[in-house]
């Protein structure tokens, strides 16, 4: 079985695995719901200082405990007020003459003390109320895990806020209006292997080295209730290849830009599938160093791709990594191609360009682009390792072409938050 078919079967297998993961995740969700309902029954009996159990039951218990604290504190305030007032009255009743002034002063002082105590106790009540509110909010979050779902690849929702900055970032991500302002951007550089074939130039396949650069940005949008993400992916590659007997060379280059939307299907808090479409724009060339009147072949084609992604946030012990697989399949498009034996002289000098732009689809452009990435933190930065399997093929106007590339890439990932424009005053 050749490499081309093997990779296509692997793609189908990965899609099936995604289904199995989804089935398992659905079953585990059911179990979680049942255990949550059971633990709710236990909340009423939970201890005040319980902090280990995550999720719904802890937040509920903390809410009830804090309410009790609040009531107790209010009782204490009222009691101390009554005590202070009693003291003031007794002081007033006991004093006479010159002692009255000092007693009044003492009484005023006592009143001041009462007022200060009241203020302090009120402050304590307010602080307790704030704690109650935050406990209620955390409880709600625990009940709705998808609100904190991995919106952008690389963010694990269950990571505890280690600092105020992390806490703010988590709140922003959970905020539906703010999370669309996060952009995940990466730049990668890679090297790999390429197999270039074009019957307009030669019936032989040319193989050699491929250099590639890729830049990607992804962000959530507000469309479809915040379920649509936007992907902008650009890559450019140059390859230098040789024929089988290594006595001739071909230089090839291609620029590819993908831009489109994916609908997010969160399966679990750590795993989601995306499906959508991309605009796929390509321009490049293949140049044979030895040919005469057919030395080069231009590459210019535009496609509408179906695109699927699987994103999995996992931890290796406590080390967070994000694994992503993406498949882009051109469904339909248009492509430039000279006719079988037509020269570029005839097309561009004699202006005979009829039929050089052809409709393409799976029957004459069976192509695939596959991307596998691994994001992981290294110190203060986030690194990305990627593997691209790029199979571009065409059979148009009697001319067969293919470019099969296997490229390994490395780069950095940045997460950027766009601040709102505050220019209006």
């Amino acid at each position: 079985m050749n490499l081309c078919k093997a990779s296509i079967l692997l793609t189908g297998y990965l899609l099936l695995i995604g289904g199995n993961i989804e089935a398992q995740s659905t079953n585990s969700q059911k179990t979680e719901v049942q255990s949550t309902e059971a633990s709710k029954a236990e909340v009423q009996h939970a201890k005040v200082h319980s902090t280990e159990v995550p999720g719904t039951e802890t937040a509920g218990a903390e809410t009830q405990n804090t309410e009790a604290q609040k009531e107790k504190l209010q009782d204490t305030v009222e009691q101390s007020e009554r005590t202070r007032e009693t003291e003031i009255k007794s002081i007033k009743a006991e004093t006479t003459g010159t002692e009255t002034q000092s007693t009044e002063a003492q009484g005023k002082k006592a009143q001041k003390t009462v007022v200060q105590d009241k203020k302090t106790q009120k402050a304590e009540v307010k602080e307790t109320e704030a704690e109650v509110q935050s406990a209620v909010v955390e409880g709600k979050r625990a009940q709705k895990p998808e609100a904190q779902d991995t919106i952008i690849p690389g963010e694990a929702p269950e990571a505890k806020a280690q600092s105020i900055e992390d806490k703010v970032m988590q709140e922003l991500r959970a905020d539906p209006s703010a999370r669309t302002r996060f952009i995940t951007r990466s730049t990668m550089y890679g090297i790999g292997f390429s197999n270039v074939f074009d019957t307009y130039l030669s019936p032989q396949e040319y193989t050699g080295i491929d250099f590639r650069i890729a830049r990607e940005s992804m962000r959530m949008t507000r469309m479809a209730q915040g379920r649509l993400s936007l992907q902008n992916f650009f890559q450019a590659d140059v390859s230098y290849t040789h024929n089988h007997v290594d006595n001739n060379n071909t230089i090839a280059g291609l620029m590819n830009w993908n831009y489109g939307l994916h609908y997010n299907f969160p399966i679990t808090p750590n795993f989601k599938l995306l499906a959508g479409g991309l605009g796929d724009f390509n321009g490049g060339f293949v140049y044979n160093l030895r040919n005469n009147n057919n030395p080069a072949s231009a590459r210019a084609y535009i496609n509408l791709d179906a695109s699927g992604m699987a994103i999995w946030n996992l931890r290796i012990k406590t080390y967070p990594v994000t694994l992503r697989y993406q498949l882009n399949l051109p469904i339909m498009g248009v492509m430039f191609s000279p006719h079988y034996g037509q020269s570029y002289y005839e097309i561009f000098t004699l202006n005979n360009s009829g039929g050089v732009v052809q409709f393409t689809s799976l029957h004459n452009q069976p192509s695939l682009r596959q991307l596998l990435t691994l994001d992981f933190p290294v110190g203060q930065v986030k690194m990305r390792l990627a593997y691209i399997w790029d199979a571009q093929q065409s059979r148009v106007n009697g001319i067969k072409t293919h470019t099969y590339s296997h490229v390994f890439m490395v780069g950095f990932v940045k997460e950027i938050y766009l601040l709102r424009n505050k220019g209006k005053r």
Binding site: Q204, V245, Y345, H402
Partner: protein, 343 residues
């Protein structure tokens, strides 16, 4: 669809994606591979010509019979020189100067289209006519002969000529009674140079020929012919008489130049028939890395007639050997007489 549970929607999407992959399973696009053996290289070469050469029908070549004839000569233990010799002979059956096989040791060619005829050209005599003070403008060598006839020798259309070169040359020759453009032994080159030169001799857009190409692997799979027009240059254009000298070695892009000039009213062709070579050649290669060149896209004259085997002159004349021995070029002298008569 709207009433389906999200889980089922996801399943459906997944199945759709897998279904779209199915047609791709049988669609890895490749060409039939021939191994790098004498037989493999023979079959690869035969297939390239069978599918891409454009004159099989016009020349009435039975390419299948040729396969049978030469396959017998191929053995898998034959050496490279032997294989090269057999393949070269097979290509010579096409009788085409644009068909060559290139190896690092040799180039197979068919040159009978000029070797079988009088040469009608002598470089040393040309140098006498040019003298020592002739001008050189890119690929053009030119001078003014004693009888006020301008003489231009263009050796190869591979040597580029720019509009500036042509402006200077025509300005220099402006006082001449007529000019001789000698393209004998010019084996061709760049069609762009041919068109640029011819554009200086017409005042209006002129149909000069047609071009067509193969649309498939069949011997008769061709497109409709596309007209080729000669547009007049926006710069200096020659308005007086022109004589173009040709011989059997005037080939390829020279044949195209002669075809365009022949239509123009002020131009007369003198000498021998051109060698032809109207097919635009493409390049391919064999599994062993040898390069093969072959005619891929034919060109016709303005009457849609084939000019692959050459263009006849208006005045047919060969160089006289006696005069040649005296250092006299009969063809140039004939052209000078014709220009004197006219002027």
């Amino acid at each position: 669809m709207m009433n389906l549970k999200p889980r089922y929607i996801r399943q459906l999407l997944r199945l759709c994606l897998i279904a779209m992959l199915v047609p791709i399973l049988e669609s890895c696009i490749r060409e039939e591979n021939f191994d790098n053996s004498p037989t493999g290289n023979f079959e690869a070469l035969w297939k390239i010509i069978d599918e891409q050469y454009c004159f099989l029908d016009y020349k009435e070549v039975s390419w299948d019979s040729i396969h049978t004839k030469y396959a017998r000569l191929i053995t898998d233990n034959m050496g490279y020189d032997g294989l090269f010799d057999v393949l070269g002979k097979m290509l010579a059956e096409l009788k085409d100067g644009h068909v060559n096989l290139y190896a690092s040791s040799n180039t197979a060619r068919y040159w009978d289209w000029y070797l079988d005829y009088p040469r009608n050209f002598n470089e040393s005599i040309i140098e006498k006519y040019l003298g020592r003070d002739y001008r050189i403008g890119a690929g053009l060598k030119y001078t003014i002969l004693e009888d006020n006839i301008g003489y231009i020798y263009y050796e190869a259309f591979t040597a580029g000529i720019g509009n500036g070169n042509l402006d200077e040359m025509l300005s220099y020759l402006a006082s001449c009674n007529g000019i001789i453009i000698d393209v004998r032994n010019n084996g061709g080159g760049n069609l762009t140079n041919s068109t640029r030169f011819a554009a200086r001799f017409t005042n209006e857009k002129v149909l000069t020929g047609y071009m067509y190409h193969k649309t498939g692997k069949g011997h008769s799979d061709f497109s409709d012919p596309v007209p080729i027009y000669l547009e007049p240059s926006n710069s200096i254009r020659w308005q007086k008489k022109v004589i173009v000298l040709t011989n059997r070695h005037s080939y390829s892009a020279t044949n195209d130049f002669v075809n365009a000039m022949h239509i123009l009213p002020n131009v007369t062709l003198v000498g021998d028939k051109t060698g032809g070579g109207s097919g635009l050649p493409f390049t391919s290669e064999l599994p062993n890395g040898w390069t093969v060149r072959f005619s891929a896209s034919p060109m016709l004259n303005a009457n849609k007639e084939q000019i692959e085997f050459g263009i006849d002159p208006d005045v047919k004349i060969d160089m006289d050997s006696t005069e040649e021995a005296k250092g006299i070029d009969t063809i140039i002298e004939t052209a000078r007489k014709l220009l004197k008569i006219v002027s």
